[in-house]
Symmetry: D3
Subunit: 132 residues, 6 copies
């Protein structure tokens, strides 16, 4: 299990990252989730990931829920239990209901099968699909 550092024991740079996240969520910094307690060992990595995540997940031309589903799809493909759980939670908070979750998993499973078919039969890429 990770060596986790509680908020009160974090150094100032790590605390500042947690403060920013807690403020955006309207939550207590002491309740910050485990990934940040683990990252607090290495403030450089922590600051970099917090900034990258914030920029990537902010609604843009793709809305917030779509972005969560993309994050969740990658996490399922990569078999990251922590991320499946945390971003499943985020997706539900952003509007994913049980029916959407079922549709989402159906696509993940179809993609998984399509990926494996392409591999098993060594299918060459069609020229028609290439970007111009």
């Amino acid at each position: 299990m990770a060596k986790l550092i509680e908020y009160k024991d974090m150094n100032p740079r790590a605390k500042a990252v947690v403060d920013g996240i807690a403020r955006a969520r309207g939550a207590d910094p002491a309740d910050i989730n485990n990934v940040w307690k683990a990252l607090a060992r290495h403030p450089d990595i922590m600051e970099g990931f917090a900034a990258e995540l914030k920029a990537a997940m902010a609604p843009g031309k793709l809305d917030g829920l779509t972005k969560e589903l993309v994050y969740l799809a990658v996490s399922m493909a990569n078999q990251c239990e922590y991320c499946i759980t945390s971003h499943g939670y985020m997706a539900r908070k952003k509007g994913m209901d049980e029916e959407m979750f079922g549709e989402f998993i159906a696509v993940v499973l179809a993609a998984q099968k399509g990926n494996k078919i392409a591999t098993a039969y060594r299918v060459p890429v069609d020229a028609a699909f290439e970007e111009k």
Copy 2:
């Protein structure tokens, strides 16, 4: 490279699958893409995948583009070049422009980093994220 079977050489069951796909796309069965030419060796698997794909990708509570992005995210995580190319093409046909593609990749990269952080630090799942 895959052993590919051209439409004219397919057996009736395989032809029927291709006919259904070509009709839905308003395309010529002879122009069917390579994955179906490869699957034509095994009509059982071909019929099963065509049916699963059609059901999974049909717009429901999640729209067609969102489903393509989920499919594409899984394919990138799994490093399936055929699927990245074919479903990148489908996503563009369903409305993904260059800016959305950039946002999409940013989420994929953030997810990839988040997945690896959770692994590298062995972060335990927070109870707060669990489904009730």
Copy 3:
């Protein structure tokens, strides 16, 4: 692409490995396949892999074809095109016909789906399945 060393240019230790493989197959050492031409750079690794492969693939309580199918299944799951091609060839030489290949792929795809379902839903292991 790999830096490949032709048989005539290999050092004595690498040549000895190739001689052993060629003799077992009743083939010309000059026709040895690419993986050995690549490994010839590092005779230690080459000797180790040749010995491990020979011991693992020899018929035992599991017959030669079953072992090829297991090897092929791992290679498909890992998306190793070289190994899918070379061990697909070996499996056909040991008796895999087109119908068996179809059945084999159907199992690989079912396993792939089962694996992903277990991950996506985070299914806990049943106590009943544990070894005593």
Copy 4:
């Protein structure tokens, strides 16, 4: 951990799937294993997987044990603990003894090494291995 639905709380479609599985195994539906309790949330996916699994795993030209070993090989390559445990159990029920399990793991490890060698050295596919 998965949100699991006990048999008595399943909807009729999910119950029907479990009844079919329990009947085939001569077992009590209440003892159904966790993957089905998790899938009961989404009857479409559950029915699809039950049908695909039943068709894929039925003895054909490949016998039942060989199919279990292929399933197990994929699950080990994909690092799916649930599937390693459940299909390890199934393989033992279908005749895998300790010696066969040792031979099986030796092949999995050799394949894993062969896959990684092909990747590390970027070995090009030999023309001789291609299907005609």
Copy 5:
């Protein structure tokens, strides 16, 4: 294949990233390698990756060659041919000779086997290995 943007056709932000890399290498910006020609589509991602890469790979308490070997090990495990080739080149430039390359691959293969043994046998983590 990637849609590649040549240096002369890049927008100013992308050009600035390439200028920085070329200057550090004492090379002509027009000879920049393909990954940057591909990333030039999305300057945000390009700037972020250039900065992250520069910070991560700079010699620190770990020297430059050790960092290249860690990068190469990840790329082999992930089967990224582009990265195996580019960082293999970088490692050789930073001092990796043929003998070191052989030792490196031997460790990668041993790790791969150790990983798969832990998975296949479902080995529980020893308490003695946990960080205090």
Copy 6:
């Protein structure tokens, strides 16, 4: 969980492997770690892995710590928790301090991102990187 065999219950071949490891570490064979208790079921595999690991990890032109970092990098990429924990422990014993661990993870994350960028954009290998 693995079926683990305690040292006192191992057969002579397995005991001999453990004796060799314990002697090299100046430790009590009864305290051998879990991977060897699991492997004791299959002495052939156990002997093979012990010999391969010993040869691969011995200091050569690459020092012991560098080799541990390569092993750890592969294990993180492959998401092997057992190996991350055990070889994290070994790396700390061989001199990895907290700062080096932070630098190491930064490289792993940069590599992971580079790998995924190459995949997502389908970047073709530059001719300049090829080995002569």
